[in-house]
Each structure stands twice: as structure tokens, then as C-alpha cells.
Amino acid sequence: MSNSASAILADRGRITVAPGGWGGSLRGALHAEWTKLRTLPGTIWLLAGIAAAAISVSVAAVAASTCPAGHCFVDTTRLSLTGVQFAQVVVVILAVTAFCGEYSTGMIRVTFAATPRRSAVLAAKAVIAGALVLVAGTIGVLGSVLAGRLMLTGNGFTVAHGFPLLSLAHGPTLRAAAGSVLYLALIALLSTGVAALLRDSAVATGTMLALLYLPPVIVSILSNSEHWQHRLDRWSPMIAGLTIQDTIGLRGLAISPWGGLGVLALWAAGALLAGGLLLHRRDA
């Protein structure tokens, strides 16, 4: 152990002083991370999975909801974007495996030898994962909105019942759609940070899913404590972050839509910061 550690330290020293290399620069790290993720066979499938997960669950949720007689209290925009709640788990897999995969194969030692500024590696991984998720998320969200636009009218969510045709020209709907894409990207950043903190993919995935899914379950069961319901609505990453999808009843929300997305951004920033600090303090 001490041998390999000193070898890495020696490596690190040598590469840092070598002039003209990629070592240490964020651009170099970005290029390296892009190459790694691009050439992994699973990446393209996971990206396709993000879009497919978003669209399929959105379509199922819209298909299951009807408003035959009017007087329905349904946020059709949010309903059409239900699939984001499923797509986020594919984002978690993508971001966690991009990071933890290197720990399980030992590749991380090579990576840190090549780029001794570990925070640059973390930043590069977060940026690449976030950017890829932005692309896949946009496809998934646009597909969901389109499906909602096509299917809602047939299920009784008609103009006569007080539901205008779902359209991105409508301000709140555009905010909900664009915000959902950002939500997915922030989940990628949060997952990267958690992965850097925990290093093991099973533990990191479990922690991420607990962080996302436990608060909604607790809130629904904690019916006798409005105080804690309100706190969880305000500060848990998934509930707060997904308020960006709300287009009706905004006054009743525990937090404003952009404020809620801000809470998720705080979670992501905190996790990345803590992950970055630990990366520097720990052995690879």
C-alpha cells in the first residue's frame, strides 16, 4: 500500500512539473472525461434510457388520467411531465457509474496520476454528465410535452372543461418544461457529488435513491404533522426541485418553483463541494 501510494505521489509530482502536458488543466480533464464516457458502451443506452423513461412514464400517467365531467383539479403540465420522476433514476445510474466505475476498476489511480488536480477531475465529470443529461433530458421532456398535447384532449382535459391545449408558448408550461431539463441535469451533478463522497456504486446509488424517494413517502404518511410536511416540501431535493413543474395552485406551494429548483442546486453544490474536499484528503 505504502509502495503504490508513494509511486502515485512520485507520478503526481513528475506529471505536474512536466511542461506542455494536459496535466491539471480543466480543459484536458474535460477532454479526458468526454473520451472515457463517450467510449463506454453503456453510455448511449443510458442516455436513450433517460429519454425513453421520461416519455414512457409520462404517456402512461396521462393515459391513466381522465376528466370526463369537468371539475377536475389537475395540473396537466405536471401530469405530462410525470416521467421525469422515473428518468431521474437513469440519470443517477449514469452519473454514479461514470464516477464509481473508475474506483471499481482501479482506473481512478491512472486518472488522478494524469490530472493531479482532483477537483478538476470532479468538475470535468460533473460537467460532462450534466451536459449529456441536458441533451437526453431535452428529448425526454419535449417528447413528454408532445405526448401530453396529443393525448390530454382525448381524455377529457378539453378547453370546455377549462384546460387549454398544452403548449410551450404558455409561460408557466415553458418554465416547467425547461425547468424539468435543468432538474435532471442538477440530479446528475448531485449524483456525481454523492458518488465522489461514497466511491462505491451500490452505496452511492442507494443513498441517491433514498435522498430522492424517501421524503415523498414520509410526507404522504406523516399526515399528522403539517410542520414536518412543510419542512420536507421545502428542503428535500426531489419535492422542492419538482415544484418547477407546478403551474397551478402556486400560492399553496411550500416553496416557489424557481426557489425549489434552487434548493436542489444547493444540494448539488454542497455534494460536489464535500466530494471535492474528500477527494483531496483521501487516498485514491
Partner: protein, 540 residues
Amino acid sequence: MTATLTTTDRPGSRAGSDGFGRVLHAEWTKFRTVRGWIIGTIAGVLVMLWLGLFAAGNAQILCGTPGGPTLTGKACLPYIPYGPGGEAVVDSFYFVRQPLAGNGSITTRVTSLTGRYVTGNGNGGVPAGQAPGAGMVPGLQPWSKAGLIIKASTKQGSAYAAMLVTGSHGVRMQYNYTGDIAGMPGTVSASSPRWLRLTRSGDTVTGYDSADGSHWTKVGTVALAGLPSTVQAGLFATSPQALLDSGGGGRGANMTPSQDTAVFDHVGLAGGWTSGRWTGTGIGTGINADYPVQGASYTRTGGRFSLTGSGDIAPAISGSGASFPTTTGQQHLVGSFAGLIAMVVVATMFITAEYRRGLIRTTFAANPRRGQVLAAKAIVAGLVTFVAGLIASAIVLPVGTRLASSQGVYVMPVSVLTEIRVVAGTAALLAAGAVLAVAVGALTRRSATAVTAVIVAIVLPYILSMTVLPAGAAGWLLRLSPAAGFAIQQSVHQFAQINAAYTPADGYFPLAPWAGFAVLCGYAAAALAGAWYVLNRRDA
């Protein structure tokens, strides 16, 4: 490595029954010597305990009358009547009665049943003291009730038998809160009235219905143990809360108060009973009682009675259908979601770590019968999880129940056997999740994918069914997905004669406890079979 070679060098004849015991022992040794897995299991138990006790200990019960002081905690608990069977019941209605001694029969004709209910967002309804009928729209509830009743006394929760017409479930004979027998179908109107009759003979009461008052059909005979010789008998009307269909899911159902009005004539007493003076009484009309709409009353013009009532005569249910804060054991087991996630992570690593480290090749070299290795891993992970889950749920259920009731939350009463089933069932639920995780881990060989697949399959349907999906789709999701397994935790019954939302958050599942658990076990068995097939075909 040398140890492994020695084992494989043993004569094949010695592999067999003790061979599997050895594999089991090897897997158990692996499990208990990895510190992280033990820590993960203990962490799962601790989180289950913490979340359960936190949820039970943080109830905020506030109540009070307009203008009066605000009460908290136990002071808000209303008087809860108990039925003859010992179960909590709702017993509020308007009663036009007279005491009748000995045996006899009472007959009436119902010519009209109409109703009104509070619409809007369902926040509260009509506060006590507000003008009767304020903010209400016409509409009858499916289980609005009016008819004849024979009751042991005017005390809430006393034994009764009733023949009644309903909003949309035809004529019924109901007795002792849980009993319900169907009579003539169809709704009541002036052109199609309903004749009802109750006959008392000792401890038994027989109900009859008729469309014309001359051709009678017996609906049912029920025995009311210990019915006193003088009973209260007469006409009644009551109407339960309206369940507003919001079209989608959403937290909490919209329950709003309702009221109904029934018109009776041809009221007659026969047998040993002779008519005395009729008295109008509201049963269960206290401030905190299940009597949401004030202003129940009756008018009489000649032989024609018109009764207006609100409330219900039925078993008490938990959650949003109840008029006071309730909880079921399941709510104290909210931590089992967290425990499940921890156990799934550990169980997945139990197999995927071997692939990551290449240890799986040694394992399969030591025991070439890969099915045995898979079975041993599933058994070890399942048993460890079962024990951990049993410890957590055996502590959190009784302690959480006491914590909640000390704060003024009404804990739905359950039998000891049910409590044992919920505790052991929770442990079994976690164990089935762990077995599923081992199988999926063997199939995918990747930790992140396996952990996600198992957790998402079990938890996401539960979340979707409670947040976005409408009741119908949510019900099917909780029947068909692995989330059905949580049904094993239910300790309350759904009643066909009560129209309520019956959501999982209130402790109700579409499947019976063991049926739901069987669905989850089916998924685990299918995944194990798939893993067994794939393991034997694939390179290690």
C-alpha cells in the same frame, strides 16, 4: 486459494446434502466478515427505528371551537364509541324514536331521498354554528342512508339493526356497524317508493322490503346478543362525507360533509307494539362528533315524516375518511422504506462485489454447482435481512403506537394476531426485497443498475400511486408491481359500505395482506429463476 483447491479435490461423492451446507457456511462467513455489510445492515435497522419513532413522536394535533381556546394533543381526541364487536365505530344520525317493549314490528314507506353536500376545495366544511346548508349544492351520496332502525339504546355504539334505502346501493339491511345485506336494487322516488319492515322477536331482528306494501321479501335475520326488552325504534336519516373526485391523485382525498332528507309515510307499529309519542333526537351531535352538518331535524304533517340528518352509522376508518387524527401501525413502519433501501444495497453488493473483485471465479471453482451458490446467497441475505427487520419492526410498532396515542392520535385498534402478522410481515417484506436484490445483482452483475432496478421497482410505484395517478390506475399499480408487497403491513379493513379514498398512505391496499406479499415473492422467485438460468449459461 489453497483452501479452495482442497475443497474441489474432495471426492465428488461427498458433495450433496452436506455440500450445500458447506456453501451456505461459506456464504455466511463472507457476509459476516465484511464490515461494511454489517454496518449497512445495522444502519438499516437504526434508520427504521429513528424514522418510525420520529413520525410517531411529531404529531401536531390542534383543535378548538371558533372563538374558543385552541386545544392540543389528547384534549382533541373526541369520544370514540365502540361497537358490540369491540371495534371503533361512527354512530351519528337523526333519530325519530319511541321506546318499545317486547316483541313487535315496525313498517314504513319511503317516498323520497335527496341530499346536499359541501363542494369546493374540501377544507373543513361547514363549521359548527354556521347556518345549516351554507355553501352546499344538491347531490346524494352513494351511502346516504334513511329508513327504520331498532337500537338497544340511544347510546353511541349500542347494538342495532336497520332496514334502509341508500343513495345508489338500493335497499340494505345493516346491523351492528359492520353487517350489510343487500335488498331490492334501484333508487327510491315518489313513483317507485320502497316499503321497509323490521320485526323483533327476542334477540333476533328480521328485515323485509317491498315495492307495494303487500308483497314482502325477507332480506335477512340477524341476532343482536343481549338486546334489552325495551328498545328504541323508529325512523332515521344520516349521510356520510362526500368523496370528491379530483380526477387525479394528490395528497389526501377531498372529503366534505353532506346531508340527506328522507320522506316517510305509512308508519305503522304491529305485533305487540302500539304507537306512543315520537321524539326527535340527534345521536352523536357533539362538537367533535361525526356530525359534520348542523341543523338536523324532522317535521311531521299528519302521517308524513320528513327527516334531515348527517353523519354515518358504520365502522370507523383511518386516514382522510376519519373526522379525527388517526394512525395505523403501518404509519409507524414508514422507516421500512429506508430499511429496504439499506438492505437492498447490502444484498446487491453481496453478489456484485464478487464480480467486481473476481472472487466469483474462486467461488464457482470451489462449488461448480452455481445454482447452489445463488441459493446460498439468497438464503443468507434473506435470513440476515429478516432478523434485522424483525428487530426493528418489533421495537418500532409497539413503541410508536404508545408515542402516537400519548400525543392525541387515535391508533386504530388491532388484534394481537394482526400485530404479529404486521411485525413478521415487515421483516419478510424486507427479506423478499433482499432476495430480489441478490437475484437482480446476479443477472446484471452491476451494482448501480441492480440497486436502482430493485428500489425503483418497489418504491416508485408506491410514490406514483400516491402523488399523480388517479385511484383506478394507482390500484392496479399496487396490485401488479412489487410495491404490492407493502400490503402485508395493512392492519385496517376496507368496507364496501363506506365510500372513502382508501389510499396506501392511510394504510389501505387493493390486495389482501398475504396476496400482496405473494406478488412481491413472485417477482423474487422469477428473478431467482432467471438468475439461475443465466448463471449456468454464462462465463463467470
